[in-house]
Homo-oligomer: 313 residues x 4
Amino acid sequence: MGLTIGVDIGGTKIAAGVVDEEGSILATCKVPTPDTPEGVIDAIADAVRTVSEGFEVEAVGIGAAGYVDDKRATVLFAPNINWRHEALKDKVEQRVGLPVVVENDANAAAWGEYRFGAGQGHDDVICITLGTGLGGGIIIGNKLRRGRFGVAAEFGHIRVVPDGLLCGCGSQGCWEQYASGRALVRYAKQRAQATPENAEILLGLGDGTVEGIEGKHISDAARQGDPVAIDSFRELARWAGAGLADLASLFDPSAFIVGGGVSDEGDLVLDPIRKSFRRWLVGGQWRPHAQVLAAQLGGKAGLVGAADLARQG
Amino acid sequence: MGLTIGVDIGGTKIAAGVVDEEGSILATCKVPTPDTPEGVIDAIADAVRTVSEGFEVEAVGIGAAGYVDDKRATVLFAPNINWRHEALKDKVEQRVGLPVVVENDANAAAWGEYRFGAGQGHDDVICITLGTGLGGGIIIGNKLRRGRFGVAAEFGHIRVVPDGLLCGCGSQGCWEQYASGRALVRYAKQRAQATPENAEILLGLGDGTVEGIEGKHISDAARQGDPVAIDSFRELARWAGAGLADLASLFDPSAFIVGGGVSDEGDLVLDPIRKSFRRWLVGGQWRPHAQVLAAQLGGKAGLVGAADLARQG
Amino acid sequence: MGLTIGVDIGGTKIAAGVVDEEGSILATCKVPTPDTPEGVIDAIADAVRTVSEGFEVEAVGIGAAGYVDDKRATVLFAPNINWRHEALKDKVEQRVGLPVVVENDANAAAWGEYRFGAGQGHDDVICITLGTGLGGGIIIGNKLRRGRFGVAAEFGHIRVVPDGLLCGCGSQGCWEQYASGRALVRYAKQRAQATPENAEILLGLGDGTVEGIEGKHISDAARQGDPVAIDSFRELARWAGAGLADLASLFDPSAFIVGGGVSDEGDLVLDPIRKSFRRWLVGGQWRPHAQVLAAQLGGKAGLVGAADLARQG
Amino acid sequence: MGLTIGVDIGGTKIAAGVVDEEGSILATCKVPTPDTPEGVIDAIADAVRTVSEGFEVEAVGIGAAGYVDDKRATVLFAPNINWRHEALKDKVEQRVGLPVVVENDANAAAWGEYRFGAGQGHDDVICITLGTGLGGGIIIGNKLRRGRFGVAAEFGHIRVVPDGLLCGCGSQGCWEQYASGRALVRYAKQRAQATPENAEILLGLGDGTVEGIEGKHISDAARQGDPVAIDSFRELARWAGAGLADLASLFDPSAFIVGGGVSDEGDLVLDPIRKSFRRWLVGGQWRPHAQVLAAQLGGKAGLVGAADLARQG
């Protein structure tokens, strides 16, 4: 099979791209994400038609946040868009006249990294995406593992603190409340509130208030040696690494790939995560250790992965 | 392939059995587990030779507690026997003249249940074994998943309580400290100590002291309505079910199989586990629920599973 | 000294009452709580003048949520009203021409119960108020203990779960997030969401939705045997009793008094709290146990206590 | 009253000393702690007689680990010596012919520091003793507060981690499992096991093995910059400071005094505790902060305090 289209549905933008067999993106377009469920489907169809102009395209892969069923056809539940048992595959196929595969966005990103990014050469890889929340994907035996009902790899919602922080999912103590971009900002705000004298650089990068602290300030401040920013990354890494150690006990992969916005900071965040992983790995002296790798495709992993999954049919 | 031998190495006994293609055990023998690493290997060889008398046997599968390498040949680390990087496959093959496959004991038991027990008909099954500790096995896509380095499915050692109970593995807060036969006895002792008037039946079944409480007393007392015993099972189920909910977020299997001595109690322990699982399952209203099934092979699952894995080669 | 006035500043109403030496309320008035800090002070003064009509009154005691300084004059911080270092004593004295004593509202309620309610006859009593949040008061050696700076007995904000639920105070895992009226509603909603079939009575008492569950429904449903409601009270009691056990390790009082709206339910909530307290009390077999008593003055404890503290000067 | 004798009953030695009104020790003697309950009483009497030789002594104060009743006469329970409801006061009075006061050892130490050490000039002081375990004492309004039944200030056994580490008291998650000399050694061992390359200095100070790590090695290694040792002190401080923040919410003292062997390290341990205390103090911006002071009397605090309590009668 030759060219396919990958679609990445984000909270504010829908991105579509024509992708070849090597994972190269030949053309892209972006449109704003409409407000209504039906509007999103129209926008996907429009984006697919626009971007495919001049290309011979054979299939479409769509990455969407939420639960996707085992047939990769229906979105059972999407937290951001009001989709409940939405027959996304059928509706988009009718509009664009191409075979469509729907996939969870973090699964698609994991597949992208496995095929064309940091996961190349590995048979068994676990990916985590540290964005606003925490998503994941499982590759075992060179296959994406979706579970019996399609909703595997919801790493962000394993419970790491009994009776812990409330999560949007309705549960408490979910991993993404402790290891995600949102958690990082919370760590920084709490620490800046308690000890503002250790957050002078950090506060200076924003509007000077604790409330005004944003994620990008924290990385910049950490690079400049701000104690609160550094300690916030350390806290994030403490939870991220401990969780990876649990995933190693469960899956024993050859590599973990850490992607998502937080991981754009590279070794600033990866080195503490590696240390923490090693600190918490059970039986560490008696077993080979998985590598902890930075994702390589950045924000394109989902689009490229979705396109490739469509190619595989 | 026809008949194979399964070997189950326990803390006190080594059991060997001739198993046919339907998982039936045609002959068995048991010998005491020797004290020395080399003694155990001799005992395995003796048991294999004894039990195979009169049968035409094609291979041997050995289930052992501990880390087994990805070649299913070497025990990297065994907690009970003093094996460290022990070339078990080679040594037994030399002694018995048959091809040998080594497998983690909980993996072997999971495979046994998948092939001949509660897991028949399922493609994606997660097994947990609630014995003295907590072990597990992963079947995805009809294959036993061992991880890249052979040490996957160490469910007992995921961290469910940060800074929690010390575990024999050197870590803290491991699941098996909260969901296992040992945990059940601790729950009962703590409760009987605090409120002996609610543990009259339980205490009456043993020597009358809190220290004398054993696992079998707790099940008997629970059946007779002892409040402390019932509450102890409820506490066990609270942790077991919450952990299964996490495993559902990760693996999304069609079924969980709960085996091990604790599960011999059947619905006395399984019903509360099912309730707790349902209570903690994330996104439960938007997804199909995995079944929670009782294991069917009892203590033979490991032996039968190891034999079948040897048959598969 | 004869008659004094107690003032209780609530979120929606300000109540003032003339109280005699036996703790009897001779007259009361209630006014709505104004929006502005200065407005509240005017309203207090008006209420004092109104209610004192026809009585010879010698002093005023005011109970306010928040931190009150060691001179019982200044509100350092009030969470509900926008008071920051507010000289409440001076401002009210200027308006009403009577000596004024300011006290934390939970402290005032504790004193009321100690003097005229469940605490009579005890020298060392710890009170907790399970209202929307959780407040407390300490009586040791027949004196209200306010701490060196006036802000002792902030029981609601001791940390009972590291990395636990966010609290309005900016911290995490505070006791009041687990033992309070608000916590009770959360427990019921979470359980009704997960297992609606066990919450039929509870849901029937409100508008039929999980979101529509209110505190009063939970008590009514529990009395009617609703499993979710009963389990929600049990969870509340688990945390309340464990916290009392900690307070016993710290203060070793002869009695705990449990007040606040939640405690209006009497033994429905107190019996499980007593059980839980006993379950968690450290060294319980080697020491006399404190009694766990229901408060007797209901919502008047704060007003009566503030008046009496003003009498004592 | 003039001279009194203080007795400090330790696990290996019993120390007695003649103490004057300024808290100066005029004479001391030490004897090994006998094995039997009765033997200990004889040894106390012998030590008192020996040390009082040549002095006119008016009373004896004895500090003992365990629960002492409200009459300061009977040891209800001693964890180390096999005393259960032991009438220590009567038995020693009969043997030495002087009035005897019995006190919990941590209470006695707290009183010593309050009267002659770091607590001078404070009316409301909370002391914690970070020794092998964690003990405490409460001074409010210039009086030692013992609780209604004599067993207040058992700080070491408040629960800081639900379902946490087992404690010798039978409970789980007790503060002393996380903030004590024993905890410090555990932190160091766990870290040295996981990352021996960061513990080279630490391991070099002992016998080279993780098991051989002792408390004194950790302080020495921390001073020499060993990462594992420094991180172990940081972990200890994390828990100690968070607990002090809780005690501030409860007692609001003007000062905390940190004593016990761990505190001998001075600012090496106190500075991180101060930081952690400030980090976790609820409402820290709206209230005066208690000071966190190092104890001044070292190992003599208990003896001096017990003597002074006897003087006060």
